[in-house]
């Protein structure tokens, strides 16, 4: 079972060591991508439900007047058509007109009938259709006309026999002027091969004028028109911004970008995981090599020199030298242990950090005659602890311990380690002579160093002391680095490479003592 345990431990390389924020970011992006269309759909339909739909072609309710008004035919133009008339014929009639600038339209009333039917466009927008030559239809376009150029386009068709279009469009302006458009020869006939003709703003050279049809059989008919239909006033079509084409295009572009970004991120995460795994394999290999090559050789040399020392006569001078060689080798091995600790990817956890710092404190303080008490929260997790953070915290805590040992005259030092939210809290408390933080801030550069170290990696350092009442230094640090979301793209590889670079170097105990 123990062998099994070792194997399991050996293989249990952390399978994902990437920064937590990237996964978090991906999750957020997906949530936004999924939620946005839904949000728009909901707001859109809610809006549609609460506001009455603008009157569009489909929803027009028409009113047939029971009595034909007496002036139904008054002021109408002439019947116009193209120069020839035949059965099953289409005829495109086009007319532009201007509403003077600074004028306000008070009334714009159009009466129209076509033999046999028509589709009517104003400024390219289809307004209405009609297929009953027996009736005259009246439209109220007051709200649709703004100052400037407008185009009326009527796509008329003839079923059989006589054909023609008859209309009058009377626009009354606020200052009393009247723009009156009647069906006459100023209308143009648009050839059939012109595309999007109803949207064209200018007439073109090939278009010839409409022909007045005289006499049109209906004009003289006594019982014509048989019906008079009044269509309710047209409302300007208000298109909310999210229904405009541009917005849809923009939204699609944004979604596509998001989608692409997600794919890119996905591959990067996969790549990153692979890279991280390779890196950890490499670190494990280096750790093994250091241990197997240097470690065992140096250990052999230590023993060799100890045995040699023993075999020399008691008084020999070389004996002393051998002893120094052994001690030097032991120191080298001790330093190597630290390097191995930093290089070995299996030691990247909070748990190992805690072990290390406790042992360091005890070993450092024992020769100084200071009792080192520990208060470690039980069951420290085997969570990953980012190397730059770990290193900064280690150096800062070492510095605090060194300060206490050198300057405080303390007899006891309490090292307290607690988990806090998603971070770690380390408190170094001594019972020494203390100091006044306000007065001695200049002298104690160590405190500035510690605070700076913690700030650099997003942690905090608080020093509290009073003369005669000891000193308490509290460090708190997150377990993983926090990045601002905006800068992550550019800093991604940069910081990772930097971070891993430092992992290769040994934690330098000298740094803590400066």
């Amino acid at each position: 079972m123990t062998v099994h345990l070792i194997i399991r431990r050996g293989l249990a390389l952390p399978f994902f060591c990437g920064p937590w924020w990237r996964d978090h970011f991906l999750r957020t992006v997906w949530q936004v991508v999924l939620a946005l269309p839904l949000a728009f759909f909901l707001t859109d339909s809610a809006r549609a439900a609460e506001t009455p739909a603008p009157e569009s072609r489909d929803l027009i309710s028409t009113y047939r007047l029971s009595k034909i008004p007496p002036d139904a035919k008054k002021g109408l133009g002439s019947w116009i058509w193209t120069d020839k008339t035949f059965d099953h014929q289409a005829c495109r009639l086009w007319k532009d007109f201007d509403i003077p600038k600074d004028a306000k339209v008070v009334e714009a009333r159009m009466r129209i009938t076509v033999d046999d039917g028509y589709q009517m466009y104003l400024d390219g927008r289809e307004l209405s259709q009609g297929a009953n030559w027996r009736s005259i239809t009246e439209y109220d376009l007051t709200l649709l006309l703004t100052p400037g150029r407008h185009v009326l386009a009527i796509s008329a068709f003839n079923d059989y026999f006589a054909a023609g279009m008859l209309m009058d469009f009377r626009v009354v302006l606020a200052d009393g002027r009247v723009v009156d458009i009647k069906s006459d020869e100023s209308w143009k006939v648009v050839p059939e091969d012109v595309r999007n003709w109803e949207k064209l703003k200018r007439s073109q050279s090939g278009w010839h004028s409409a022909t007045i049809i005289t006499p049109h059989p209906l004009w003289t008919a006594r019982d014509w028109p048989e019906d008079y239909v009044v269509v309710p006033r047209f409302q300007p079509l208000v298109v909310p911004f999210w229904q405009t084409g541009w917005f849809h295009l923009l939204l699609s572009a944004v979604f596509i970008l998001f989608f692409l970004a997600c794919i890119v991120l996905f591959f990067q995460v996969a790549f990153h995981k692979k890279e991280q795994r390779l890196l950890n394999q490499e670190r494990a290999r280096i750790a093994r090599d250091i241990h197997d090559d240097f470690g065992t050789r140096l250990t052999r040399l230590v023993l060799e020199s100890e045995v040699a020392q023993n075999e020399l006569p008691e008084q020999a001078r070389a004996r002393h030298q051998f002893s120094r060689i052994s001690d030097g080798l032991r120191e080298a091995l001790g330093a190597m242990d630290e390097v191995l600790w930093a290089v070995n990817p299996q030691r990247d956890t909070v748990r190992d950090f805690v072990t290390y710092i406790c042992e360091y404190a005890q070993e450092y303080l024992q020769p100084a005659g200071i009792q080192c008490l520990l208060e470690v929260e039980p069951d420290m997790p085997s969570l990953d602890f980012d190397l730059p953070l770990r290193r900064s915290l280690l150096l800062a805590v070492k510095e605090a311990i060194t300060n206490a040992a050198k300057h405080s005259d303390a007899t006891k030092l309490l090292l307290k380690i607690q988990r806090q939210d998603s971070g770690l809290n380390v408190i170094v408390e001594d019972d020494g002579k203390g100091f006044d933080p306000a007065k001695s801030s200049g002298k104690r550069n160590g405190i500035g160093n510690m605070i700076q170290r913690m700030n650099e990696v997003g942690g905090r350092c608080a020093v509290a002391s009073e003369p005669g009442k000891g000193c308490r230094v509290e460090f708190s640090i997150p377990l993983t680095r926090q990045h601002s979301r905006l800068g992550w793209l550019t800093r991604r590889w940069h910081t990772r490479l930097e971070g891993e670079d430092t992992s290769a170097g040994p934690p330098n105990p000298e740094n803590g003592e400066k």
Partner: protein, 226 residues
């Protein structure tokens, strides 16, 4: 392992303490046996190059202490410790390690080792460590003490109550894990340092039994018969 003074005096030269070594590297093995033989009261009776050989050879000599390398080819030092402890329950096993790695050391202690030594330990410290385990003392670092308490708390629910830590044992372990020295604990609890050691020895033994499910099953079955 920190050396400490014990009341035990060296045994007469006529009856040397028997030590066995399990170490795969010939230079290290030879030098260790030379160092041990250089002590007047110890004698290296058996030097094995592998765990398999150790299980075959060491029981013949019945040494008091076995120095066991943690990294051995094929059978690891930890596995060998566990099996050897079954064969020779009275023999104390000290793990030798080149690297100060607490994870592995904790596993070794669970397998039944009485302590550990870094291979680069000074001969004087080696001697006092040997004397320590012979006198029944098993010093324990605060880190290991903390691990032991944690591991017992985790396993407490599943295993027979009599295998749990006693209140006194836990008290000692908690004080150790807080960084108090054996002496300080002895003063605080009004016990002798030797008594503390014997408590710790019992803790090591419980830990060994705890860590081995086979051992637990065996314990439960024999317990059932009685």
């Amino acid at each position: 392992m920190k050396p400490h003074k014990t009341g035990i005096t060296a045994k007469p030269a006529t009856q040397k303490v028997k030590i066995a070594i399990v170490e795969d590297q010939p230079e290290v093995r030879e030098n260790w046996s030379k160092l041990i033989n250089s002590f007047p009261d110890f004698e290296c009776v058996c030097a094995c190059i592998s765990g398999e050989e150790a299980l075959r050879e060491i029981p013949k000599y019945r040494p008091s202490v076995v120095l066991m390398d943690i990294f051995l080819p094929r059978m690891s030092g930890i596995e060998c410790t566990a099996q050897l402890k079954e064969l020779l329950p009275e023999t104390q096993i000290i793990i030798l390690t080149a690297m100060n790695d607490k994870e592995l050391i904790f596993l070794a202690l669970q397998a039944g080792a009485a302590g550990y030594l870094l291979k680069r330990t000074k001969p004087a410290d080696l001697r006092s460590a040997l004397l320590d385990v012979l006198s029944g003392g098993s010093p324990m670092s605060s880190e290991i003490a903390r691990r032991v308490v944690e591991s017992f708390h985790r396993k407490a629910k599943t295993i027979d109550k009599s295998l749990n830590l006693s209140a006194r044992e836990e008290e000692i372990l908690v004080l150790l894990s807080k960084g108090y020295s054996n002496k300080a604990i002895a003063d605080q609890l009004k016990l002798s340092v030797e008594t503390i050691y014997s408590y710790l020895k019992r803790v090591y033994e419980k830990m060994r039994v705890h860590s081995r499910t086979e051992a637990v099953i065996r314990y439960l079955s024999t317990h059932g018969k009685v």
